[in-house]
Structures are given as C-alpha cells and as structure tokens.
C-alpha cells in the first residue's frame, strides 16, 4: 500500500489585514474593496518560497529519521533559482542524505500535486522508498492589484511511502491545458492575469468539475462519495457552484483559507490537505484537487494510522501563531517592492564563495554539527579538532543534525545598528539541546519576547541576499518555540 505517511504545513507569522491594503491603495483601484475581507499571511523579510517549503517539510518530518528519505521533490512558481536545483537546498535543510533523487516542479500552480503524484509513483515503483514533497509560493503582485489582495504566502508538505501509511493513494486523474489565467515571463517579477470572469467561469468552474468527474468515471465513484474535498478557488460564486457537485456534508469541503492566509499558489493544495488530515478519520475518502494550467485530482483513503500523526502538525498551530503586520510600507519593503535606505551596512557587498559553500554545505544547509567520538562533546560548527579543552581529539567528529534539535537562550540582544529590514536585528547565543552553543540570528520575535533560559527551535531562513549577483543564501535562525510567543 502506497500513500501519504506524514503531512505538514506552514503559514508565516505576519498577517496583513486586507483593509490596510485597501486603505493604502484603494485610491488607485477602488474595486479591490471587493476582495478586502479578512487577512493574508505575509512572509517575513527573511522568508521566501524555499524557506516556507522547508518549514512545512520540517513540520511534516517531525520524528522522522532523515536518513530514510530517498527523494525530495520541491514545487514552486517562485523558486529563487533558475539554475541551481532548489530541491537540493530543501533536501539539505531537511537533513536528507545526498544519495537521493531530487527534482524541482515549477511553472504551474498544480506543480505541488504533480510533485506529489510523482512521489507516489516513485514510492510505488521502489519498495520501501520514502519521498518528501514540499511546496510553497511567495508570489508578488503589483500594488493595488486584485492579486495583491488574494495571494498569501505559505506552503505544505507531505511524505509518501509504503510503510505506516496514513492516507492510502487510490488513484488520480489529470487534465492539462495551456489556459493562461495567470502569467509570468522568465524575466517578470509580478503576476499578470486575464479577465477574472473568464478565469472564474471557464477556468475554475469548468476544469475542476471536469477533473473530478474524470476521476469518478475512471474509478466508478460519485463526487458525493468523498468525505473531505480539498481544492483551491478563491472565487466565492464558483466555489459555491463547485461545492454543489459533492452533495451535502458538514465540513466536507475544506476551507480554502482565503480569509486567513490567502492563496499560496503551488503550496495551497498541500497546505489545505494538511488541514484536512488534521481532522480526518479512518476510512475517510479524501479528494485532493489542484488548479493551474489544468488540474490534478488525487483520491486518498485514510487509514487507522492517521491518529499517530494527529499530534499538532499541520496548519492549526501556525494559524494560531500570528502577529499583525499593521503597516503596508513594511510589507512593500519586505517583498522588495520599495527600496529602503539601510545605510552603509546594508550596502556591504557580500560575496558567496561557492567552493566554501560546497565544503561546508552540511553545516550551512542542515546546521550539522559534530559529536566527538572521543569525549562525546556535541559542537557547532564541526571542526577537525574537538572544542573540549580537556579533549582536543582530531578527526573524531560524528555528524549531528542540529536543525531539528531545540535549544535554550544563553544571551541575547536587539541591535539597532545592524542593517535589518525588521529592526532591531535580534540575535543571541543559543545552547543546543545535547550540548554546544553558537550565536544565531533570531526571527519571528521581538527582543521583549526573550529571556535567558527560554526554549527556542530553529527555522531555515534567508541569511542574506546578494543583489549584485542575484544569490540568496540561507541559514538557520532561532525562534521562540510556539506557545512561548504568539
């Protein structure tokens, strides 16, 4: 039996009330008021489509031995690299081995489900194989556009395999069309869309019923047979119409998160799916549908093992963890839509030395440290010589994946002098669980949220962006554990 073995979601901490967008930009395009209900999730200044995919992946892989992963698939339409496989960055951050298969899925909002299908087929073709799919988007929309209202940032993840399956994969059906509702050329920063009525009526309200009916015909099902239905569509009218084909049923159709998150693009079907699995019961038939350049429809049946994974992973805790982004200008600056003056420190030319990055890739991508075989001291970074002054053994380091270990705050500060797009730059020394310490940037918190001894976990973030060479570098930051701070 092949199917989903775990799931995860991620929604960034900051939420922008859509009336703030309207208040700032309604003068230019008053019609955006029609989408101004609720709030949308906004990636922090140090987040992008890779970091949010990793965050969803980390949520999904809680308790999973990373050495068992055989493939990592990454889906996004806003990946930072055209060449340099994005999936390898994700795989490195997740602590996967290097003798694995990786692939980027791109250029369509259905890339998330297509990646999932490929992973399921990979697992079916290779007995015992496990694959992880991470999907996220951080799409840019022009100021005062409908997309600016509708799009949100976030991502979802799923692990698939043939052991401990929580949702068995039963079948799929796809349609693929060169239907250009949204478009971005290779050199285009902002989303462009065609007329909305056409997208709504000939797109969503047409293709989604088509792919659902195709699946049902193929497997002798009726749309009403499903207990949970996941599909993206932010047009209320079309949604109502599509919902009709699934028949009655309280909570049958999964909330599209438009009021709380917005449409997270490639990540949206998996993000919504994580929400569905959080509350799914054994025996539930789940229908997962994507939309974009056509549709994928996937049919799953929930197993008894589901309860083991209903342990807080998914989207609820991310939805509960929120902070208001009460400032439209901050949103513009964070998304690189308005250039702020960050002083000379913000202009420092930081080059990336690729041979160094290659040599230190485990320490950088997965925050792998070392554990000395001679004295047992855990340390970061892993060096040839043990840091314990009473040991000093040479070449005795065993790699330790520190990214999933938590830590406690040893010392901290909030720095107004450092160039930051969310000042003060908060950083401090963190003691790793199991020993060793290092100085890390902190994120998703203010200095007031911190105290010596408080627990933190680690979040993969943009370390710095080199605008001259278009290079995004990543590393881990410390973050107060959920529950300690909203």
């Amino acid at each position: 039996m092949v199917g989903i073995t775990s799931f995860g979601g991620y929604v960034p901490r900051y939420r922008l009330n859509r009336m703030i967008i309207f208040g700032s930009m309604g003068w230019l395009n008053p019609v955006i008021i029609s989408n101004a209900r609720g709030e949308k999730a906004v990636a922090n200044f140090d987040e992008d489509a890779i970091t949010m995919a990793v965050a969803a992946g980390m949520d999904c892989l809680r308790g999973v031995d990373r050495s068992t992963i055989d493939a990592v698939y990454y889906a996004s339409t806003t990946a930072p690299y055209r060449e340099r496989q994005n999936a390898n960055i994700v795989a490195g951050a997740l602590g996967a081995r290097e003798e694995i298969r990786t692939a980027d899925f791109a250029a369509s909002l259905k890339s998330g489900t297509t990646a999932l299908l490929s992973a399921l087929e990979f697992a079916a073709a290779n007995q015992g194989a496990k694959a992880v799919v991470c999907a996220a988007d951080c799409r840019l929309a022009k100021m005062a556009s409908t997309q600016e209202m509708v799009f949100g940032d976030g991502g979802g993840a799923a692990m698939v395999g043939d052991e401990d399956v929580i949702a068995e994969y039963k079948g799929s059906y796809s349609v693929s069309y060169d239907f250009v509702d949204h478009l971005r050329g290779a050199n285009t920063k902002y989303d462009r869309m065609w007329e909305e009525r056409w997208i709504r009526d000939l797109g969503y309200a047409n293709f989604i019923p088509q792919v659902v009916n195709g699946l049902c015909e193929k497997y002798g099902l009726s749309p009403a047979d499903f207990d949970k239905v996941v599909y993206p569509c932010y047009y209320g009218g079309a949604r109502k119409k599509i919902n009709g084909i699934f028949g009655e049923g309280e909570g049958k159709v999964q909330d599209d998160l438009q009021a709380t998150v917005g449409d997270t693009g490639s990540g949206h079907p998996l993000l919504m799916m994580a929400g569905a699995l959080e509350t799914a019961k054994p025996g539930d038939k789940i229908l997962l549908v994507s939309f974009g350049s056509g549709c994928d429809a996937l049919w799953f049946e929930v197993t008894d093992a589901i309860s083991k994974k209903q342990d807080g992973r998914g989207i609820s805790r991310w939805l509960a963890r929120r902070a208001d982004l009460d400032n439209y200008q901050k949103y513009l600056v964070w998304r690189g839509m308005a250039p702020p003056d960050t002083g000379l420190r913000g202009e420092v030319d930081k080059e990336t030395r690729w041979s160094l990055v290659w040599r230190e890739r485990k320490g950088i991508l997965g925050m792998w440290g070392g554990k000395c075989k001679a004295c047992g001291t855990q340390q970061y970074p892993a060096r040839r010589m043990c840091v314990n002054p009473d040991c000093g053994a040479v070449d005795q380091m065993e790699p330790v994946y520190l990214a999933e270990k938590g830590g406690t705050i040893f010392s901290y500060t909030g720095d107004m002098l450092a160039a930051s797009l969310n000042p003060p730059a908060v950083y401090g020394t963190v003691s790793f669980e199991g020993g060793g310490r290092t100085v890390l940037d902190f994120t998703d918190c203010t200095v007031e949220d911190l105290a010596v001894g408080n627990p933190v976990d680690f979040s993969f973030r943009i370390k710095f962006y080199d605008p001259k060479r278009d290079i995004t570098n990543y590393f881990w930051k410390a973050r107060p554990v959920l529950g300690e701070v909203s």
Binding site: L344, R345, V348, K350, T352, R353, L356, V357, E360, G363, I364, T377, Q379, Y380, P381, R383, V387, N388, P389, F410, S411, Y412, T413, G414, D415, M416, L417, A418, A419, S420, P424, A425, Y427, G428, T429, S431, G435, G436, R437, T438, V439, L440, D441, V447, V452, G453, K463, F464, N473, F475
Partner: protein
Amino acid sequence: MAEGIRDKVVILGMGCTRFGERWDMSGGDLLVESFTEAMEDAGIEKKDIQAAWLGVHIDEINIGKGGTYASNALHLPFIPVSRLDNFCASGTEAFRGATYGVASGACDIALAIGVEKLKDTGYGGLPDSPAFGQEMVMVGPNATAPGMFAQLATAYAAKHKISMDRVKEAITHISWKSHQNGVKNPRAHLRREVSKEQIMGSPMVAYPLGLFDCCGVSDGSAAAIVTTPEIAKKLKPNDPLVRVKALQIAVSSGEEAAYDKWDGGSVMTTRAASKRAYEEAGIKDPRSEISMMEVHDCFSITELCTMEDLWISPDGGAPDDILNGFYDLDGQIPCQPDGGLKCFGHPIGASGIRMIFEMYNQLLGRWPEDRAVKNPKFGLTHNLGGVPNNNVCSIAIFGVD
C-alpha cells in the same frame, strides 16, 4: 621557566594626537603628529630607531597592508617596519613587538606606533567586514560590535541574578564617570559633561546599551619609543624611569563560542591575561596594589565585566564598586582617568598606545592637579579586541622608579 618582561624595558618617549574627527588629517599626517611628539619627548634622532611596529586594525582605506605606509609617512631609513593587526589589541601588540625587540637585545631603541583613520570609512560605529572569516559570513549572526557586547549584560544579569535595571544603573555610572574625566582632557574626542539622565535616556543601540554606552569612533595616532633601562639612564640621567612590569596577551581558544563552560557574563581571555600579568609584575593583590587603569570600555558593559575579570571587584560585585565610586577619579582605583575609549575616543590601532600614554604621563606626574592620580605605583592597561565570545585581550602593567 621564562622570567618574563618585567623591568627589562622602559619607555623613553611618547606622543599622542588629539583624538576625534580629524577631517583635515590623513593617517600619515596623524602618524607624523604622534611620532614627532614622541621623538621630542625621547630626545633622540630618527637614525637611533632600529625597528618599528605599526598597529592598525581595519583602516585599509588609508593605510593599506604591510609596513610601507608608516615607513613612507615617517620616512624611516630602511629599518624593519611590521604591521600588526590583532583586533583592538593592535596598538598594544605593536608595543609588545617593540618591547620584545628591545628585551631580546635585537635592537636598542624601537618604535611602537598605532593609527586609525576611522572617520573616512563613512560609518557610524565600525565598518562591516568579514572580520571572522568568510564562513562566518555564511553562518554567523547579522551582528555589530555593540550587539555582541550587549549580550554580556543579559548573561551577566542572569548569572548573578542581578536585575537589568541595576546593571543599567551601574553602566550608566561608568559612562558618566568617563565623561567627567574626559571633560578635563584637551586631547579627548568627546569633551562634554553629560548627566546620568541623558545617558540612561539615550536611544537604544543594542539592548541594553544606549548611545552613551558606546565609545567614540575616532581618528588618532599614538606612539611610544622604548629602550633598555641602561640606555634610558644614559640619555635621560635626571628623569625617573617608566618601566614595563608586565605585558600579556591572551587569545580565545574557541571554547567560549562553542563549548558549554563559559558563563557569558565575563571574558575568559581577560581573566587569563591579567592573572599572568600580575604574576609577571609581582602583584599579589591587584585590588590594593594597582593604582590606576585604562581599560577597554568599548561599551560600558565591557568595563563593568572587566572590573571582575581583572580580579579587582569580586564576581557579581562590580555594580556595587562602580556605584560606590571605587573607580571614579577620586576613588581607590581611578579607571579611565583620561576619559577612556568612551570620551578619549577609539582609533583602534592607536588605542592601546594611547592608554599607555596616559599611564606614562600619570606615573611621571605630568598632568595638571585636576586630573592627576595621587602617587601612582602601578598603572594597568587593558584592551579587548573582537567580541566577548571570541577575542584578543592584552594587559600591560607599568611602574616608575
């Protein structure tokens, strides 16, 4: 067992420029200023100098690498000139080079000179640079010096269970005291009296350090000419001799940054270097024997921790000593009688030698009554370069006879 440097080398002459925003002066112009003063004080000619050490940390805008810039500026006659960088201890390192040169017998008279032309960097504070190597650019924090030193405060307060308010009160007194002293010093960069309210209320730079908890960023140069006691007696038969009693450097082992033993509210290198320096100088009880100090108050919190790291205030007792006026100009051990880095300013490569300049002149009784330390016996200087979890500490002790 090596016998150390005690009494083997004396200071023959010193010079120090006014520190500050020296917009009209290049690094070379400043070198000429401190050098000329030191030469006049020493009463020697250029040809008498047999080797020179230059202390510069980051100012490659003016100085560049190597020893050529200083040798050119001073037109030194084809003698060895070595550029030394060891973070904020660079000045004291240059002094150590010259002292060791004389003590070894390799030369009779040597020059130590430091300079930094920070005001041409365009920065407030020190410029960003990959000071800890390229790997740290990839994995290190987006940090500045005040933020790294500020962490001393949160860790110190947690370690001693002292409230952050009490820590802030003590570090405010530190800056207030340095301003009191700096006002009286014509060579100091910042010469304005400030109230404790102004210090306490200054804009936050890095919690809990406000603007007035941070030292001045300055241009300046300082120079020392050192020789053997025998030569000094010959050249200046009627003058008292200011002797080097101890000169120690300690560099982080990497333990503070990555291992679990360091307490975060002290500086391990200062503890190691000062212990060795007291031994070298023959000092048993620094609290009763040291007469005055110039310590590395890059930030007020650094000075607070240093008072304990030098084994003068008991652990956890620095705030009490500070607030009781123990380190004030009229206290038992005046600390920063010249205004310190806080007010004299901090042209990095010159700072260590500037501190020695203050001790030298105090020991010779050259300063006016209002800022003279009474009957000094031992003067101590301390530099701390780098950041609390990874640094270079220098300690020098001087005496007079």
